[in-house]
Subunit: 300 residues, 4 copies
């Protein structure tokens, strides 16, 4: 099995303007090693993020060239397994970043919240900071993307080709579908979360380095507008936008499109999702918000 | 057991300016009969909502005077049971109303979506329109509110005293906590949904008339800023606002307040919800959007 | 000329549930005396708003019954003159209220901005706090509304019948058009601003008590969806909603409707406003935001 | 005077990943030739935009390397003159693009508005389509940007380094200040508008090819967070974000920062802008919205 490490420095943008670090074939299973969102610079609770972190966050492993991928295809990413490559995770309060603080965009004249680093030990399937703060190992890849044809997009951003979605359903056992917009797809991943609540409230989940085992496939000549996820029992679509209602509109709109591709009438799909759809918040902290719309397969 | 029917015409606003229709005592179990959101005016699939419906929608049973309730108290509503009082439910596409259409507020120059009425038969625990559109009976009360001290608020509106929240967790087995702002609380309920997906996408769930069995209690001298819900295994808070991110901020902010009342440190609560909180969309169609933040009791 | 003072206590909601304090005839010129937004409770720079102000703000003079007004009519309010009734104005920073702070809705965990009261002397047509803070007398009525048919709406709220719009164009020389939804219209006004910048940034303009000279007229059988303003050289429409883009959509959408009533083709109006329309922010601080769309009469 | 034409194909992103087409010195006056937003592909009213336009819009002339510019400097762009290079302008209704239609992000199930191309003749200082649609020549550059350090950003996007702001104050006589984030600044411009209303309502102003005469300067070692504009009588800041209230917060927040750099106390600046600030909408149609906050120099 091919093992993919980032050779030298990491990338902080989804971009076609950099050389691929590896090439994979459709059907091939690969192991990808990922850094944590801070490139492992936060290691102790006494660390002050604002003094340590540089301007670039969320380092990505990639781009990975998928052979045969062409613009207009769909890249299929089977998330087979995620293993931790260290025995601790880190969360942090970073000034003017998070869901319950003013930010660079939702700008106010108020002082920032206090900085703070939280270290969790991983043991026996639990991430434990203290008696009160102890949560199960529920890993997923916060960031997976293909490269845009024209832009280079900061690795902090969720967008229509995936990116920093931070939705807990990009987890082992599930399949992520992404649009291909450049030859080779240029796949990136990183930002493994050992666990995360809906919304990623303070902006930083249980960040950990990891080894992700993925299998890539292609659906030739199938254009996709937004990321889709398939689990054993549900179909999902991810919308990323601001304000949050636009992310919701996109997610449900895209799920209707998927249902129509599966033979549904548009109005029946609209009606079905009204009565049985699911809609949760993946992130409410990134440069755009990500929402996941879902329908159980038993209703499709 | 006291049975409460609306005597004569229904109310379409949460208001202290109308006479109570019944009085209940703390600890008393009552049965409340509710109309559907259209006052049962849509009965056939050939009906055209725009020709039939008047300006007032979502009729409420109430106000119900809770003895001993004073401003500054919390009203506790135990939702014991919901039974249908007819064997069918109705959904509808209404012009310029819903989650995937322009509206009176998100105003565009586009034509409306087609009108349409959907009738579902209730039988053997399933609501069935057709082979494809058949969903289980999962009833909840879409609307529950206490009256504002000053305002009279349209029964279509979710707000900080409950209202038309359309969150599926106001269901049998759960407890709703609402602020009391006028003597007697002036409780209203209605809008029973035989089932609903997250977001209530087209704007109209499986609307049905119902008999709701509720028990009221009071927590004296406990001020509440926003509605809270308790289930057997979770604590929840409901935020209602636009844009949707404000509803999310309110919901999580209020849940942190609740956790602090239970002895948590503010920053620990912020951290815990980041890693284990839940956040789903109740409605994305009403005059404000309602989101539910939750934490499982095992982590509190 | 009839002089209208509020007899006894002021009203803090736009509501049909209170008795009119005066009756006026179409064509009649009246003088209305208005309180400031704090009912003149803030008088010194050493005052602390949070210690002094109660839950009700923005007292209104009204309701005023306009004879002959029926639902479906348009109320025409000619703003003839505004005179100050004291020689000072007040502004204030109030905790969690304003455009550059988190609020009750845009909720964060941050501390509030510092409280502060600013007193301005009115002399020689200038409002002067200090050398730096000295601004011309540019008075307008921050709040004007008719009563809803069903609701009672807090006097802090801008909505589709006017309300607390805080748009500087409701000033002497201009005409405000409001929908009538109850017999007699039930007109309210208050919240005179001695001057205000676009957005009313800190949430409190140059608040002053005043005598407003208004003339009322009716346009029978002309329904209106949102407030309109006419100046000597422009037509304007006011949209109030959240998020702010919805207020913008409403304002421009309503202005297109107005142009169509004046004989324009819908698409020509859309095109004309693209090239020559104006769009400014009245308030970015109230419970909904108010934007004003305008077109100069020379282009209509 | 150096004349700068785009050699060969245009650029559709603000990016450091392309070679500069010209080099300028601080203090140098240059003439830059710009394409229209459609690369002059729409020429007749019978044209159908959806059939003619490719995926890339808003071609830019650049990057232009400014000698001596280093990250952390401010680029000063004196807009000296704009001359048309043809005698007609074009506007258009493009499906799912504009301020009064659903879009790719504010996604609905509705049909698009009708497509339409509008050609205006430029003569005697007027742009004239018909008797009704005739507007004065009020040219400005819709798009001006420096390149991000990491990203390549679609030329349709306004952001913190300028971009497709579409604010009418980037016009002759005014000065635009932009942050420098890469050596040489990498300046881009294009999208000349022969005139535009606030908001650019249908999404397409009076698009024209032009010769812009600019003079570049540098302020060394002065970091800037967002674009600023100086006219003869006002200071302005431009915020670009969604939802629109975030753009407003940024614009006013940045203007306060500027006033503080000029010696103001933060709270006095907040107070002054409340009473005398201006706030208008530049665009309500692009990928983010742009608002302009201003204060007249006489109050600073």
């Amino acid at each position: 099995m091919q093992e993919i490490h980032q050779p030298g420095s990491y990338h902080y943008a989804f971009s076609r303007y950099v050389e691929p670090i590896a090439r994979v074939k459709p059907g091939e299973v690969v192991a990808i090693y990922t850094q944590d969102a801070f490139e492992s610079q936060l290691t102790r609770e006494s660390d002050r993020p604002s003094a340590i972190l540089g301007p670039y966050l969320n380092p990505q492993t990639g781009p990975i060239y998928v052979e045969g991928a062409e613009p207009g295809d769909t890249l299929v990413v089977h998330i087979l397994d995620i293993e931790p490559t260290r025995d601790w995770a880190v969360s942090a309060f970073i000034p003017f970043f998070g869901g319950l603080t003013s930010t660079r965009f939702t700008r106010t004249l108020q002082d920032s919240l206090p900085e703070r680093v939280w270290i969790y030990k991983l043991k026996d399937g639990m991430l434990t900071h203290s008696d009160r703060l102890s949560f199960p190992w529920r890993p997923f890849l916060g960031t997976m993307a293909t490269a845009p044809d024209l832009e280079a997009i900061s690795a902090l951003t969720p967008y229509d080709q995936g990116g920093n979605m931070d939705v807990p359903d990009t987890k082992p056992g599930n399949i992520l579908y992404l649009p291909v917009r450049v030859p080779g797809a240029y796949f990136f991943t990183g930002d493994c979360h050992a666990g995360q609540g809906d919304g990623e409230l303070c902006g930083v989940a249980l960040e950990i380095t990891a080894k992700a085992t993925l299998k890539f496939d292609l659906i030739k000549h199938q254009r996709l507008d937004w990321p889709r996820i398939e689990s054993q029992d549900a179909y999902m679509a991810v919308g990323s936008a601001r304000p949050m209602e636009d992310a919701a509109r996109i997610a449900y709109g895209e799920l209707i499109t998927w249902m129509m591709e599966m033979g549904w009438d548009r109005w029946e799909a609209y009606q079905a999702l009204t009565q049985i759809g699911g809609l949760y918040v993946g992130n409410m902290v990134d440069t755009t918000y990500s929402l996941v719309a879902r329908i159980a397969k038993q209703y499709v």
